[in-house]
C-alpha cells in the first residue's frame, strides 16, 4: 500500500528514517532464484528498485549457434525448467516453421496433451511458491504433492522428471507408454493398490478426476483467504498501457485486461494445433473478484493462472479423448544434420509464463547463423521498478512473486 499519511511528523518518526541501500538477493528466498534487487529504502518505504540479472547466464544463444537445432533442445529444457515441455515445443515449432514441416494429427494431439499437462504442473508451483512468498506454507505442500504425480507420469513417458527433451523437431521422441505402474502418489491419494497397472492415458484421466475438485479447495485456502486478499488485491497495479509497453505477455498481460492468447491469436502454425480444441482464455477483470481487487493487480495475475489450470484440465481431457483414434505417428523423421534453408523465422508460443519466442536464421548450414531465445519472464520482470517504487519493503515479494518469474529463462 502506498503510504500517504497526512501528518508529516508521523511519517518522519514512524515510517521514514535515513536512506539506506539494501541488497535483496541474489539468494533471497522470495526472488525465485538468483535475482538481486538493489533497493534504496527510506525506513520501510522503497524509493528505488534496480534489478540485477545474469547470475545464471550461460549464453545459451552462443551454444545454439554451434549446435544443430535438435542438439539444442536439451538446453531449452533448462531455460524455464518448470515448463521444459513448453520450451521444447516452442523451439521445435520454430524449426518446423523454418524448414516447412507438416505434422500428423497424432503428434499434434500428443503435443497438446503434454504441453497442457506441463502447464498445470508449472502453475501449481507458481501458486505454491506465491503462497510461500506471502508467508503461508501449506498451499506449497499441496501443490508439490499434485505436481509430483505429473512428474511421475512424465517420467514414465520420457524417462526424465525435469529436463525432458521429449517434444522434438517432428513430434515427440517416443510414443506414450501403453501400460505403466500407477504413480505411488496417485495410488495413495485415490486409495488404490500400489501394484495396479494401467494405461498412461487412464492414469492421467484418474489424476485429473482427482485434481479438479481440489482447485476449489485451493481457492478457499488461498485465493479467497482474507490475509491473501489483503496482501495482493489493489497492490502492484500494472495498467493495461504499461503492460503492453513493457512487452509483458501471458498471465501478466491478461491480468491487466488484454485479451491475447497465442494459442488462439498467435502464428497459424501454432494456432492450428488448437483448432479442434475448446478452451476459454481467462482475462481480468473478473466478476467474482473480491471488492478490493483492481484491474492489473497482484490478485488478478494470480487468479488468471488459477483459471488457466482449469482450462488446461479441459484441454488435456479433450486430448485424451482424441489420442487413441488420432491418425499418423507420433514423429516424422527429421535428421539431426538437416541443413537449414537460407531464411529466417521467429515464432512465439504461449508458455505458462508468457510468450517464449525463438528466432532462427539459417544459412544453408546445419548450425543456425543465429539462434535467439526471447524470454517471456525477461519482459515480465522489466516493470518491477515502477511497480515497487513507493511501496513498503514487505510488499516487494508480493509483487515480484505475482510476476511469476523463473531466472533460468531470464538469464539463459
Amino acid at each position: 500500500m502506498s503510504v500517504t499519511l497526512e501528518d508529516p511528523r508521523i511519517v518522519e518518526f514512524d515510517v521514514r528514517t535515513d536512506e539506506m541501500l539494501v541488497n535483496m538477493g541474489p539468494q533471497h528466498p522470495s526472488t525465485h532464484g538468483v535475482l538481486r534487487l538493489l533497493l534504496r529504502t527510506d525506513g520501510e518505504i522503497v524509493n528505488e528498485v534496480t534489478p540485477h540479472l545474469g547470475y545464471l547466464h550461460r549464453c545459451a544463444e552462443k551454444i545454439g549457434e554451434n549446435l544443430s537445432p535438435v542438439q539444442w533442445i536439451p538446453y531449452t529444457d533448462r531455460m524455464d525448467y518448470l515448463a521444459g515441455m513448453n520450451m521444447n515445443l516452442g523451439m521445435s515449432l520454430a524449426v518446423e516453421k523454418l524448414v516447412g514441416m507438416e505434422l500428423p494429427e497424432k503428434a499434434v494431439v500428443l503435443r497438446v496433451l503434454i504441453a497442457e499437462l506441463n502447464r498445470i504442473a508449472s502453475h501449481l508451483v507458481g501458486m505454491g511458491a506465491y503462497g510461500l512468498d506471502l508467508g503461508t506454507f501449506s498451499p506449497f505442500l499441496y501443490a508439490f504433492r499434485e505436481r509430483e504425480i505429473i512428474l511421475d507420469l512424465f517420467e514414465e513417458a520420457c524417462g526424465a522428471r525435469l529436463t525432458y527433451s521429449y517434444l522434438t523437431v517432428g513430434g515427440a521422441t517416443h510414443d506414450l507408454p501403453t501400460t505403466i505402474p500407477i504413480p505411488p502418489g496417485l495410488a495413495s491419494l485415490t486409495h488404490r493398490s500400489p501394484n495396479l497397472k494401467l494405461s498412461w492415458l487412464e492414469a492421467v484421466s484418474m489424476f485429473l478426476d482427482w485434481l479438479e475438485p481440489r482447485i476449489k479447495e485451493y481457492h478457499t485456502l488461498l485465493t479467497r483467504n482474507h490475509i491473501f486478499i489483503k496482501r495482493t488485491a489493489g497492490l502492484g497495479i500494472l495498467s493495461r498501457e504499461d503492460a503492453i509497453d513493457f512487452g509483458c505477455t501471458g498471465p501478466v498481460l491478461r491480468g491487466s485486461g488484454v485479451d491475447w492468447d497465442l494459442r488462439r491469436d498467435g502464428d497459424p502454425i501454432y494456432t492450428k494445433m488448437y483448432d479442434d480444441f475448446d478452451f476459454d482464455v481467462p482475462v481480468a477483470p473478473f466478476t467474482d473478484a473480491p471488492r478490493e481487487a483492481v484491474l492489473g493487480d497482484n490478485w488478478c495475475r494470480f487468479y488468471v493462472r488459477m483459471m488457466e489450470v482449469a482450462q488446461a484440465i479441459r484441454l488435456v481431457r479433450q486430448a485424451i479423448e482424441k489420442y487413441p483414434t488420432a491418425e499418423g505417428t507420433h514423429r516424422v523423421p527429421h535428421k539431426m544434420a538437416t541443413k537449414l534453408p537460407k531464411d529466417e523465422c521467429y515464432l512465439e508460443t504461449e508458455c505458462p509464463r508468457g510468450a517464449m519466442g525463438f528466432y532462427f536464421v539459417g544459412n544453408g548450414e546445419v548450425n543456425p547463423l543465429r539462434a535467439r531465445a526471447k524470454s517471456s519472464c525477461f519482459c515480465n520482470l522489466a516493470p518491477t521498478a515502477p511497480l515497487c517504487e513507493g511501496f513498503l519493503l514487505a510488499d516487494i515479494p508480493a509483487v515480484v512473486g505475482s510476476l511469476d518469474i523463473v531466472m533460468g529463462e531470464i538469464d539463459r
Partner: protein
Amino acid sequence: MNAEEILNLLVDEFGNEKITGSNLEAIDPWVEVSAGSIEEVSRLLKTDDRLQFDHLNNLCGADYFEVDEKKKAKFGHEPHVEVVYHLTSYSLRHKITIKVCVPRWKDDKEGELPDVPTVSTVWKIADWHEREAFDLVGINFVGHPNLNRILCAEDWVGHPLRKDYEFPLEYHGIRGK
C-alpha cells in the same frame, strides 16, 4: 494489413532513402530501414492509426560474419551486424519484422561499436532488450538512458555473440579453458 501494404505505406511516408530494402517472400516478411531513421520509423509504426504496432515482441542483434577462411566464399552475406525488431499490433492483429543493418565496426576500426539510435523512447521494453543486444552482440544504442551490461558481469570484456569473440582464458583468477 499485410506486409506488402505496410511496406508501401512506409515507402510513401519515408521514401527509398530511409526504407532501404525488403523481402516479402521470406517466411516472416521484413523491411529494412536505414540506421539513422529507425527511431522516426518506429514512432510512426507505433502511433499511426493504420499500423498501431503497440507490442515489440523481440529485439535482438545478429552478427553476419564467417570466421572460417574456407567457408567465406560460400557464406553469401557481406559481413555486417543486424538489429531485428519483431512487432505485433494487438488491436489490428498484424505483424511485421523490421531490420537495421550496420557495419560490424564503426569506421572499420575494430573494437569501435556501430551506432544505432535507441527505440527505448518508443517502446519501454526496448530499454532492456537493447541493453542485452549491447551486452551480447556489441551495438551502441545512441540515446539509450542506461546502456550497461545486463546479463554479463559489468567488467566483462568483449561481446560473446560476435562470431570472432574469443572466450577469455582467465576471469578474476578463475581459469577458463
